[in-house]
């Protein structure tokens, strides 16, 4: 196990071309599970290849246990990787696939047998050892690919979208299994995915990437609750966060967001934010689960009446779509509370959970500087108490 640190890593495929990776700064502790997540083409796979040594970096340093490995060839880095396509050697049996790296490293045959047996037991693939990859199912190939990585007991494991070739059910199963495996083995892991659910469920730390730039690096909770910008907010979460364009108004020393459903209007108190915001186009972001149905008599939270346009029951909850400020807004409601299409609903918002973004730059707009949502909630409560 080892720490991994990326210091100002840059990668370009030639002058004149746009940077593939730009000033990447990431550090994780030994045993941590790092997720690199982003849309395709964001540079996450390139970054992983750079860590593995399959591609050279153009600048910066990659440190494992404090030692710079950026000039080393892949075989000397002691890093193992699980590929999206599994990349199992098709002409070798499962046993030889797992043993290949050990043979190349001239491990004694007896030790190889022991190690293969250990890994096979760990992954429950003992009965498959004599088969060729072509005779395995997708899930079994996935296990063998992980076994090949585990056999070398490397310092760092890299996973390159390992679940994206599996069907939906198997994907969920393997996700849990990878998490279990990591909890047992406590291996330092870098995991690339474009699936935000995998990012949320597996990671100790998540780096959200776009256009070769890290948009935000933090724990899954930080990324989810406190996204740094519009991109992160929109990328993480399913169904995605609602974005409502509007103008802010300043009154009574605080800012108000005006919502309009066509039937009714509502003013959302946003607290005492920095000066000048009222003149700017902003985007108000709120997650579907933070919109609820107003309970009778509880007037403490702002609410608005709106017409239900579409309902999508998903089973555990029902997604209800209404229109606010000419924008479709999704609310995640309990199935028994879900109304009929055409009905009117009294929706209430938790102002403390509302996020604001600059409409032009997409940057997060802070409430009195860089206030955390909790602090902001306290501030809102304060204001209300007055």
């Amino acid at each position: 196990m080892a720490t991994l640190e990326l210091r100002n890593v840059n990668k370009t495929y030639g002058s004149g071309l746009p940077d593939t990776l730009k000033n990447i700064e990431i550090a994780i502790d030994s045993g941590e599970f790092l997720i690199l997540v982003g849309p395709s083409g964001c540079g996450k796979s390139t970054l992983m290849n750079c860590i593995a040594g399959l591609e050279d970096i153009s600048g910066g340093a990659i440190l494992v246990e404090g030692q710079d490995i950026s000039g080393m060839s892949p075989k000397d880095r002691d890093i193992a990787m699980v590929f999206q396509s599994y990349a199992l050697y098709p002409t070798m049996t499962v046993r030889d696939n797992i043993a290949f790296g050990l043979k190349i490293r001239k491990m004694a045959p007896a030790d190889i047998d022991t190690e293969v047996a250990r890994v096979a037991k760990l992954l429950q693939i003992e009965h498959l050892l004599a088969r060729k990859p072509g005779q395995l199912s997708g899930g079994q190939q996935q296990r063998v690919a992980m076994g090949r990585a585990l056999a070398r007991r490397p310092k760092i494991y890299l996973f390159d979208e390992p679940l994206s070739n599996l069907d939906a059910k198997l994907r969920v199963e393997m996700r849990t299994e990878i998490k279990l495996m990591h909890q047992r083995l406590k291996t330092t892991t870098v995991y690339v995915t474009h699936d935000q659910i995998e990012a949320m469920t597996l990671g100790d730390k998540v780096a959200v990437m776009k256009d070769g730039i890290i948009q935000q690096f933090g724990t899954p909770q930080q990324i989810y609750n406190d996204p740094a910008n519009l991109f992160v907010a929109s990328f993480i979460g399913s169904p995605p966060m609602n974005f409502i364009p509007l103008r802010l108004q300043r009154r009574d020393g605080q800012l108000w967001a005006l919502l309009d459903s066509g039937q009714a209007r509502c003013e959302l108190p946003l607290g005492a934010m920095e000066e000048g915001l009222e003149s700017r186009e902003v985007i108000l972001g709120i997650r579907p689960e933070q919109i609820g149905i107003a309970q009778g008599g509880d007037g403490s939270l702002p609410s608005i009446r709106a017409e239900v346009q579409v309902t999508e029951p998903t089973g555990p909850d029902t997604l209800v779509f209404v229109e606010l400020n000419q924008t479709k807004v999704c609310c995640r409601l309990a199935p028994d509370a879900a109304p009929q299409v055409g009905a009117s609903l009294e929706l209430q918002f938790e102002p403390s959970k509302v996020l604001l973004f600059d409409a032009q730059s997409g940057e997060r707009l802070g409430l009195l500087g860089a206030a955390r949502p909790q602090e902001r909630a306290a501030k809102v409560a304060q204001l209300k108490g007055r």
Binding site: G53, P74, K75, A80, M81, Y89, T91, G101, R105
Partner: protein, 278 residues
């Protein structure tokens, strides 16, 4: 036949046409075989498809006498040339598909043109070069020429095959600690059996059947069988012995025919792979 009765007439016509076509395609071979076993008298008195009064192998014996030595020349030329050009093609294809570098694509484009090169434009310089190397009129010289001008196709075969192999395989092997040749020998070659077959058969038929290089770069004792056959058939001296001509033609054609019958699948794949160039 499962087809319904109104269709059977048209299906009958289809089968009849196909059978007639088969006959047309087979007749030259039948005539060659028949003639090769006839006596000169039978040839003069009978016709192409008439059954001989006596079946004799004298034509084959005489033919072997005159072209047998050249048959072995062809073997000596074909075997090494096929093996070397296939190996080189495999290595080139491996690099071009898995280890691309700046300029490698350009090189592939330049090489590809070699598939279309009319060899007449290189004959003269090639013969000067062989002379300089002391390889003029040797089978080694012909091996060299066939390797050089077979490279375009062999590389194309392997490159196109390896392009469809996921390069994650190479990356996985590199992380496992394998080097350039280990990856090639232990991982890619074992999965290349089909394309190796295609390439071997393609090169075998191309080189065995070659006439142009043989007639230009070899003379006398070093000529391949195609040249010897042509000399035999087109001599204007002496009495024409058509049974000997046909037997010699069969001797020249048999190796590729046998390969075709045994491995027709790969032969066809070579032809179509050559057709879908790039």
């Amino acid at each position: 036949m499962t087809s319904r009765s109104p269709l059977s007439l048209s299906r009958l016509a289809i089968y009849a046409t196909l059978l007639a076509a088969c006959a047309v395609y087979l007749i030259p071979l039948v005539v060659m075989l028949l003639t090769s076993f006839k006596s000169p008298d039978d040839i003069r008195t009978g016709n192409l498809l008439s059954w001989p009064d006596v079946i004799t192998a004298i034509g084959w014996l005489k033919a072997w006498d005159s072209v047998g030595g050249f048959f072995w020349n062809s073997v000596k030329i074909t075997v090494p040339a096929v093996l070397i050009s296939t190996l080189l093609g495999a290595l080139n294809g491996y690099v071009l598909a898995m280890w691309r570098f700046r300029g490698s694509q350009l090189f592939f484009g330049l090489l590809l043109f070699g598939c279309f090169l009319p060899f007449q434009v290189v004959l003269l310089p090639a013969s000067f070069t062989l002379g300089q190397l002391g390889l003029a009129n040797t089978t080694s010289g012909l091996v060299l020429v066939h390797v050089v001008y077979g490279l375009a196709f062999t590389t194309l075969f392997f490159r196109n095959y390896y392009v469809s192999v996921p390069d994650a395989l190479v990356r996985a092997a590199r992380l496992d600690g394998a080097g350039f040749f280990t990856i090639f020998g232990r991982i890619l070659l074992p999965m290349s059996i089909p394309i190796i077959m295609v390439c071997l058969i393609w090169q075998f038929t191309q080189i065995w059947n070659d006439f142009l290089f043989g007639v230009v770069f070899a003379s006398g004792d070093t000529q391949p069988i195609t040249v010897a056959l042509n000399n035999l058939v087109n001599t204007s001296t002496g009495v024409k012995e058509y049974n000997v001509d046909m037997a010699a033609a069969m001797i020249a054609g048999l190796p590729t025919l046998v390969v075709y019958i045994l491995a027709g699948k790969y032969f066809l794949r070579g032809l179509t792979a050559g057709a879908v160039k790039g």
